[in-house]
Amino acid sequence: MTPKLLEIKDLSAGITESGKEIIKHLNLTINSGETHAIMGPNGAGKSTLSYVLTGKPDYTVTGGSMHFCGHDLTALKPEERAALGIFLSMQAPVEIPGVTTQFFLKHAVNAVRKYNNLPELDTAEFLKLLRSKAKEFEVSADMLKREINVGFSGGEKKRLEILQLSLLQPKLAILDEADSGLDIDALKIVANGVNQWHNNDNSLLIITHHLDLLRQIKPDFVHIYADGHIIRTGGMALAEELETSGYKNYLEASI
């Protein structure tokens, strides 16, 4: 059995509507148990990569391939990818007026269970699970009753994303700026939540601009991402170096 969880080969993708290419000949392999970090300038296409992996219709794959646990991702709908175990914590979680957080989470958990031929949780079972997670991520009962993400603060939204990660127990978690807008305590809650979930059978892809989260989640690889692909790979030392020198040297070198 191959430990390869995600294998991206020579991937190119662009905006569906305009055809503008954003991801250009990207290669990246993530094995089970690994943590990868992606850092790169604004507009480099990091969020786009997260959306292409999860199947957002705004983007279209134009070349190359991406496989997850041996499945060709391009052939799968977003909900199938999610049910197979890809989770995306979004840079900007979406507000859904009229749908309460609790209702939404129950549907999500049961949809994933159903896809995987597991019995759906009834309300009592689900609430028990949800309450324990809510406590862990310091999400109040009031927040669970409110409409999902509507009027939540930036930090509250991010905590709720990680609560969802913990509820859904995916195989691959893509965290797109999960650390932005978090206060020091919230960052700890998020990092602890991620670390608790993380084990040798699942993997992380962390997109970030800051070292704080990386210091707590300790990546195995740090990639510098510019103009739609990875231009340099290293370890935590590369991230530390970036913090002092910025992207300038690497961007010039890659031209």
């Binding site: 999860t54 749908v99 549907h107 949809a111 859904l168």
Partner: protein, 414 residues
């Protein structure tokens, strides 16, 4: 007009005042005829040529082997009344104290209906109400006597079988006397392939300080036509709250013609419609503020798919001396396919100066970001769409005053 030539024997032939009314109605209907695409009030939902040529006026006594005498199986207690194929087949035996419910023809025979029948509208303006008067063949006279507070709704269930393509002209007179409070539910349905035309007129008189909650669920058969006029007069401190739900049907129109005749009278009209095939839903309102300190509020939301069409026409009229009045109106629609269509015509006629009025209209599609967020959490697209549609319409259901009734309507609808 072929309709007028139908050979019918309707009740009331030997009651001169009533015969006179029928004749007058015939004359008016023969002159104004059916609305066409050029009739302003009907321009979005006019009838195809043959919609009214085929249905027949059925004056034979009711006969069918259906379950038309059974009690309803509502999840709450109610005063059960049933119309089957346009004929009254069941009226609850034990009526609550202070409630009078009689077949209309009885009240016509003894003349008790005289102060109310055709006293709330002008037939010249309502072709279908003229038709309803000309061929009136069934109905109820409902009185909630002064001060009576009903603790259960009155439930009118209208059901149609598929035996004959009939035109049912039904008139209900509802009088809620001074200080009385009542809830009326109207529920229309028909067998799958049934073809018929329901032409309903309700004349509703809300007395001083009285309150009527009027719920209506239209779930007629796909091939059916449904036209209803709710003609409402409200006295001082009286309240009329309508909640209208339209489902599939060839054409369904509910027109609320509401007059706030005295101070502090209030009306609220909420409505939802959801069509996925090729039917037309028309919710038309005309709220007339005729006295100071009167209030009205309307919220109508629709969801259209397939080749369906939604119509909302909302008129708010504020008379010159209706000062310190508020009139709000909002219509929104989700249009989910390219072939679906929504027509919205708000009309404000304000002749007083110290008033607060607003109207709004918007239509759009489901939010792609919201759909993707749900899919990214494993929720299949179809389920995600359904969740968003329910959330969209829920805003209206939440405004219903009676949560048990609202829950029942929602369950049989969403």
């Amino acid at each position: 007009m072929s309709l007028l030539k139908q050979n019918t024997a309707l009740f009331g032939e030997n009651i001169p005042w009533f015969e006179g009314l029928r004749e007058k109605a015939c004359t008016i209907f023969a002159r104004i005829g059916l609305p066409t695409a050029k009739t302003e009030a009907w321009k979005y939902s006019y009838f195809k040529e043959d919609a009214l040529n085929k249905p027949q006026i059925d004056s034979t006594p009711h006969q069918c082997d259906g379950h038309c005498h059974d009690e309803s199986n509502l999840p709450f207690l109610a005063v059960d009344i049933k119309y089957c194929n346009g004929k009254l087949t069941h009226i609850a035996h034990d009526l609550p104290c202070g409630v009078i419910i009689r077949p209309l023809y009885e009240a016509i025979e003894d003349g008790e209906i005289k102060p109310y029948l055709n006293k709330s509208f002008d037939m010249e303006e309502f072709p279908f109400a003229a038709l309803n008067t000309a061929f009136l063949d069934e109905g109820l006279f409902i009185v909630i006597t002064a001060g009576t507070v009903l603790n259960m709704p009155i439930y009118l269930h209208y059901h149609q079988h598929h035996d004959v393509n009939r035109l049912s002209n039904i008139r209900n007179i509802v009088v809620v006397e001074k200080g009385a409070k009542a809830t009326l539910i109207e529920h229309f349905d028909g067998e799958n392939d049934a073809q018929y035309f329901d032409n309903i007129v309700n004349e509703i008189y809300v007395g001083t300080g009285a309150i009527l909650q009027h719920y209506k669920q239209q779930n007629e058969a796909q091939k059916a036509h449904h036209v209803a006029l709710n003609s409402v007069l409200i006295k001082a401190d009286g309240q009329y709250n309508a909640f209208i739900v339209h489902g599939e049907c060839t054409l369904a129109r509910t027109e609320s013609y509401v007059r706030l005749t005295q101070e502090n009278a209030a009306a609220e009209i909420n409505g939802v419609y959801r069509l996925e095939q090729n039917g037309i839903s028309d919710i038309t309102t005309n709220i007339r503020h005729l006295a100071p300190h009167t209030n009205s509020d309307q919220l109508v939301k629709g969801v259209l798919d397939g080749k369906a069409k939604g119509v909302f026409q909302g008129q708010i009229h504020i008379a010159p001396d209706a000062q310190q009045t508020t009139g709000y109106q909002l219509h929104r629609a989700l249009v989910l396919s390219d072939e679906a269509e929504v027509d919205c015509k708000p009309e404000l006629e304000i002749f007083a100066d110290d008033v607060k009025c607003s109207h709004g209209a918007a239509s759009g599609d489901l939010d792609a970001e919201q759909l993707f967020y749900m899919q990214a959490r494993g929720i299949p697209l179809q389920e995600a769409r359904q969740i968003l549609i329910e959330a969209y319409l829920n805003e209206v259901f939440e405004k219903a005053k009676d949560s048990a009734v609202a829950e029942w309507m929602k369950d049989s609808y969403l």
